[in-house]
Symmetry: C2
Subunit: 216 residues, 2 copies
């Protein structure tokens, strides 16, 4: 659909433009887009604010490039895994694991993929919302496949997809490279929890799903 958006045009590594992108990713992610001024970015790069406009025509142009970069990573590395021929559970686990790895690898801009893109305006915002919707739909569809085949419980597919993606999307809040588990181990945990839950299957089973249970 919006595939032309996803063709990479990354600046040369080590160039001043790449430095600007890196600093923007970090500051937008830490403080938020609205709370990061062009003067903040300039200071981080030891430049004058006006000089930034030699590389980008506006603050929103920077956000747009960062947001697209991150969307590219998710689309290119996760979505192809939806199409393998294995059972839905295996494919979903692989997708979740790849999703987690992208989040960790793109730590600084993952927050932008989830949050800060809302500061885009007009057509860009609509295009980006479509990219995100397309991405989420891949998870919804594979869950529906699994429900149809009987491999998954007949839960609400949208709610399930949002729940498992959300559980991954918070990683950038607490992940610390070196101190936390490896990206692969975290991916395995998240995938396992989404598919098998926290409960130990060898313990006495309980009824699944949901009626009420003693609400105040």
């Amino acid at each position: 659909m919006a595939d032309t958006l996803l063709v990479s045009v990354a600046p040369a590594p080590g160039s001043r433009k790449a430095d600007l992108l890196a600093a923007s990713r970090r500051l937008f992610s830490e403080r938020g887009y609205a709370s990061t001024s062009m003067r903040d970015l300039a200071e981080a790069l030891d430049m004058r604010p006006a000089s930034l406009y030699s590389h980008y025509r506006s603050k929103e142009d920077i956000l747009w490039e960062i947001a697209l970069d991150c969307a590219r990573a998710f689309h290119h590395r996760v979505l192809p895994l939806a199409e393998a021929g294995s059972p839905p559970g295996d494919r979903l686990a692989a997708m979740l694991k790849a999703h987690v790895e992208v989040i960790i690898e793109w730590r600084d801009s993952a927050a932008i993929f989830f949050r800060e893109w809302k500061h885009l305006e007009g057509q860009r915002r609509e295009q980006y919302a479509a990219l995100i919707h397309e991405y989420e739909t891949a998870f919804v569809q594979i869950i529906e496949e699994g429900i149809t085949s009987g491999e998954f419980q007949p839960l609400d597919s949208h709610l399930s997809a949002y729940a498992m993606l959300s559980s991954a999307n918070w990683i950038h809040r607490w992940y610390q490279p070196g101190k936390s588990l490896s990206p692969e181990a975290i991916g395995d945990y998240i995938a396992s929890m989404a598919l098998n839950g926290l409960r130990n299957d060898t313990a006495p089973l309980r009824e699944a799903g949901g009626e009420h249970e003693g609400k105040a």
Copy 2:
């Protein structure tokens, strides 16, 4: 610890101050704190910007009150459920369900509990971070109880707690009253997914937990 922070001093319902809080909750949640100006708030209430200062001494004072209100709801309605005498799995399910219900009931300020509090400064920010940490720790501890008793799999307790809270914290992004499921049903889904996972237990079992599985 910071219990005095959690004593409610809510303004009378229907008062102008309550209107201001409601408008602030909605706008801070929709656009973010930094992108909402005092003039925006004034316009939403059909007032002049300066008049807001008859009710609050600063913009941050408004954020602080909203953030505390929301923290109160979580602490008062969820944490007591951690202390019942039932098995960890049952208590955790009840806590998650209550957590979801608070998120939905406090839809407009839940985003502030999770995100916008970072715009608090100095001592307030530290106090609020402590409140959130205290809240999360209750989930971590009950998971550790369940692991010790053998009811839960021996997964990382912090990671598990963050993952299940996160899966709930995204609800405010898509929940639409009337159109979505009831808060109770969503709470049951989230709790069931966290404990039992998506996979149907009557289907052929797979190994749980986490080693690697054929990464590219």
